[in-house]
Amino acid sequence: MSSSVEAAEAKGPQIRRTGTGGRIRFGIYVALSLAALAWSFSGLEVSGERILKGLPQVGQIVRQMFLPPNWAYFPKVAQEMVVSLQIAALGTAIAAVLALPFGVLAARNLTRLAGLPFAGKVLLNMIRTFPELILALMFIRALGPGPFAGVLAVGFHSIGMIGKLYAERIETVDKAALEALAASGASPIEVFRYGVVPEVLPDFLSFALYRFDLNVRAATVLGLVGAGGVGTLIQFQIGRDWPSVGMILLGIIVTVGLVDFVSAKLRARLA
């Protein structure tokens, strides 16, 4: 129950118990899929004809973007990509700190109030569900366009997922050890400091690193609505100068790929 897909992704592949997989359940799933497919395509302005018409267009755009990309645009892309990375780094750090109280409050094993963890988890889910692009638009209206609005959007939105992962991790801390500490006269704060922190800290760091991966992607998109970073260039060049868009896309792919790689290596060392 506590091992969500997010937690599994944050930790990387691990050997796990095998499921039994009922055939009836799978049959129901297939039937549901078909029904969903039929309903979702009804009334959607999507036709095979439009797809076929668009495909040559896709081919042409891809050719213009990459054969060759506008290499001269590289310095500009690098400059804005750095801003995207900075947005992601600062936003993640803000969220990683602000999520701590939420994580503690939402963990079932640290409080005697039964309603508090539930309320905390609902609140975290609400934060997680609120789209960061809409947050960014709101911060832009309030503070003006630019990367600062992006930092705040990323920072606020990320509290949801990080806080949830924190809480789930705290819940797996051995309760007997905490009780032993409390029995030996440790105050609640000391129990937390010596019983919980040393055990969960490496995992907390890897959750933050994992969220940083996702935030780098998010920070490349924020510019599409004016919240700074490399997306600003996409917004500016799309439909205008395809070779430059190609250069931007290459920059994004290389940067995101590198960040993913380094982050996975670091997380593997933390685990």
Partner: protein, 261 residues
């Protein structure tokens, strides 16, 4: 008390580097506590304006349009989830070490999947919107790509960790690669597959809600329009209704997943 201090000296160096990066990031993005505090009254005023009842007349007439666009949003997410996850299914045959026809095919395919996952969904959507024209089609296609990438990767990861017993039995009985996949692997990972599909659906709903900001259909399209026309009450209403619906779907789906795996 723990015998080992929680922070070895290498930890302090790493912490110092991180703090340095954060200061550098704050300078680069123009972020500061001062600017944030100064902006608070402005933010407060903006959020107050978003309350729909501030607008006269109260924009309730607007609800049918919101509903129509929300249904479109959910349809985009659902269609993309079903198509993308069905497409990803046969690709475990190349994405899994135990089932792939060879090391090279496996590595190439895994490399391609990683490449696909580096392209942010909304960047792809805005590129596709340029190719296919505005509307739900580019959004749908972008989300199909995204779903395919996520489900194919998670599913292949899972297949690599299943119990090898049934597969060895089928090999011993003279079964082919396809036999191994269909009879030994798929039954074991079926619940995981459904869980990954639901997981992708949750993300797709959230992304579909903002696709319209880049011209790719759904509720985001009228949201963007109303933001640009400074119709604050409308904006507030759209955000509130969309958020409620997305949150509901997300909660139900997360709960279903917790029952599955």
């Amino acid at each position: 008390m723990p015998s080992k201090p929680p922070f070895p000296w290498r930890g302090w160096i790493a912490a110092a580097i991180v703090v340095g990066i954060l200061f550098w990031s704050a300078r680069g993005t123009g972020a500061s506590v001062g600017a944030f505090v100064e902006g608070i009254p402005e933010m407060g005023a903006y959020f107050r304006k978003l309350v729909p009842s501030q607008e006269k007349p109260w924009p309730y007439r607007y609800l049918p349009e919101i509903q129509e666009r929300l249904v479109e949003t959910i349809k985009i997410a659902l269609a993309a989830t079903v198509v993308g996850s069905l497409f990803s299914l046969p690709f475990v045959l190349v994405g899994t070490r135990t089932l792939a026809p060879g090391r090279l095919v496996y590595n190439l395919w895994r490399g391609f999947l990683n490449l696909l996952r580096t392209i942010p969904d909304l960047v792809l959507a805005s590129l596709l919107a340029a190719a296919f024209g505005l509307g739900p089609l580019p959004g749908l296609l972008a989300l199909i790509f995204f779903t395919f990438g996520v489900v194919a990767k998670l599913l292949s990861d899972t297949v690599e960790t299943v119990d090898p017993g049934p597969m060895e039995a089928i090999t011993a009985a003279g079964g082919t690669r396809l036999h191994r996949a269909v009879f030994a692997t798929l039954p074991q990972v079926a619940p995981d597959y459904v869980a990954y599909t639901l997981y992708a659906f949750e993300i797709n709903v959230r992304v579909a809600a903002v696709l319209g900001l880049v011209g790719a259909g759904g509720i985001g399209q009228i949201l963007y329009r109303d933001i640009n026309f400074f119709r604050y009450g409308h904006v507030g209403l759209i955000i509130a209704v969309t958020f409620a619906v997305v949150f509901l779907i997300d909660s139900v789906s997360t709960w279903l997943r917790s029952k599955l795996v």
